[in-house]
Symmetry: C2
Subunit: 342 residues, 2 copies
DNA sequence: CTGAAAGCGCTTACAG
DNA sequence: CTGAAAGCGCTTACAG
């Protein structure tokens, strides 16, 4: 590849002049500029981004590490929409994404640190949903700014930047909706209990029951894998409860809701006539499932876009005008929920 | 951030020694190595990847530019699974992905060239499905190796590397399946007619009809947007055909199939009793739709993984042992197809 | 408006 | 096994 010096020689200027032309520096005479561009074109020259980065200490790149590589993670709307939001926002600002994989939670943190330490990105979006206070502290020891997507770890908020959905409110609305339909025995089907978002939702679930004066029943709480099997398995367990079995299910994602519905159908239980089911995420399948699933729309793309914008603000201005955002979810009512019939 | 020189000073060695330790160079005494690591740890040192890249002319990074940023593109299984395959394969080989967006086809090509010219990636995966021979030629003028995912442009194959699904065969099987069910009036609902994959499928569709001695009917060919509306609109048109209207639909993706089914239901036409529908991609919704949609499973993740492996082989060995691969699809039979009833 | 030079933080061929 | 030096391809403060 041609370098700045090759162009300089051909255009009869010093290499610093070529550099100035390509970095958009104004103090260049039109004549010189044209000569340089002509020479560059002839040689097929384009500035080497790596060399520029080394010199300017800026990569115009934002890092992320993908927490899971299994198929379902890319089929749920959660991750792809997050990705879309990040991509769109960074593209608009002239940034690119550098994305890495990982094998497990430990590795995820290692990879994040590595991207930070190796100066490959000007900032990082951290998607991990099970960060603890210590780990966040470690990340803060690096100079690389980062924004967390999801629930920040409890403990003192050490000035960590984050954007999250209002899971507390969303869960409350969903559960309250079931309560308003007359349901009292409501099952909570959550995912990984170490997942901070899951925890927040469960807490909100409990509080909503409390406020309605409905006693909590530990038998109606199930933690499973974030997919159809997770939902399916919860039903087997709950149906054994006899008269204490639930009349409504609240599921942590739509795939789990699909699993629940499937398991119920298998037991000749009708949805929503006999049992109501409400999901989370508003994934495409929730719309096409039979019955179409009532669910909570979580604005993942918007969250991710916001996180990127915050990060870029920090990178370019040195500071974020606001360090955290909570975005609203909305209840999407479809056909999987109905009034309780006794 | 600490540099190699800070570590050198603290460990009482020359910076080149520190460099050797961190690049895994063997000719370092155990004692020195330990001293260097200790000093590095104390200073929180990690090699600057940018500087290393400038020096070695290797970034251990693979570039891609995402052709579309609209929501549906991230909800279909096509793109997310492609992404998953690339991510998994590159992670395994110690590479990361650098991903950029674009606004339209022209911009897409520009962005690809820019990544190539600026040496930000050691190689690029090109996903564009409407590349022409000239554009490929331009890309080949750069030193950066690339692998095309999808159908290579027709014309002389100028040594371009690609991996594609066997769309010809997949379409043939799907259409032949409908023919075997007794259907003779089969509609082709394709996407963007400039999309090379679409073209290949349409060609195969026609050939299959020809071989079965079924006359082609141009009225039964529709090109629409790659989403529900695309499918939906095709039905409105085809139903006007009266006795020449189709008894079966072949759709270019599952979202279109869903749109077709929805439009048919709206017209009180039963699927599959009255009309059969077959989709493409085996997206999650195809499984959950009502009726569950018969479709063609295309191994996107595998294709993408293969492309990345080829690229890395080229980057590391200087050559690919094989420059193109065609992967098999498979017909997934579900409930949207049935025997033709007259 | 432009040139000459130092520097960004590494790697590596050359010596010893 | 280790050091000294040149080089990767840019940018930018300093002069003029």
């Amino acid at each position: 590849m041609a370098t700045i010096r090759d162009v300089a020689k051909k255009a009869n200027v010093h290499s610093s002049t070529v550099s100035r032309v390509f970095s958009g520096n104004l103090s260049i005479s039109e004549a010189t500029r044209e000569r340089v561009f002509a020479a560059a074109k002839e040689l097929g020259f384009w500035p080497n981004a790596i060399a520029r980065s080394l010199s300017t200490q800026r990569t115009n790149t934002i890092g992320i590490v993908i927490p899971h590589i299994f198929e379902g993670f890319f089929n749920d709307s959660f991750f792809p929409q997050l990705m879309r939001g990040m991509l769109e926002a960074s593209y608009k600002k002239g940034f690119r994404l550098i994305v890495g994989g990982c094998e497990n939670y430990e590795d995820e943190i290692d990879q994040i640190k590595q991207i930070m330490a190796s100066s490959q990105a000007d900032g990082i979006i951290v998607m991990s949903s099970r960060l603890d206070v210590d780990t966040v502290g470690e990340l803060q020891n690096h100079n690389t700014p980062f924004v967390l997507i999801g629930h920040p770890p409890s403990g003192e908020n050490q000035g960590i930047a984050w954007v999250d959905a209002d899971n507390q409110k969303a869960t409350q609305e969903a559960v309250q909706y079931l309560i308003d339909l007359g349901h009292k025995k409501i099952a909570f089907v959550g995912g990984d209990p170490e997942n901070l978002t899951s925890q927040e939702r469960e807490k909100s679930f409990n509080t909503t029951l409390d406020l309605a004066g409905i006693p909590r029943d530990p038998n109606l709480v199930h933690h499973g894998f974030f997919d159809e099997s997770g939902g399916f398995n919860s039903v087997a367990r709950m149906l054994k409860l006899g008269e204490n079995s639930p009349t409504a299910f609240y599921a942590a994602n739509d795939l789990m809701a699909v699993g629940i519905i499937r398991a119920l159908k298998k037991n000749n239980i009708r949805v929503p006539e006999d049992i109501s089911v409400i999901g989370t995420n508003n994934a495409p399948i929730s719309e096409y499932a039979q019955p179409a699933i009532s669910t909570v729309d979580v604005p993942y793309a918007k969250m991710a876009g916001k996180a990127v914008e915050m990060l870029i603000e920090k990178i370019e201005q040195g500071e974020m005008s606001q360090t955290n955002f909570t975005l609203e979810c909305s209840l999407v009512l479809r056909d999987s929920t109905a009034e309780f019939q006794n």
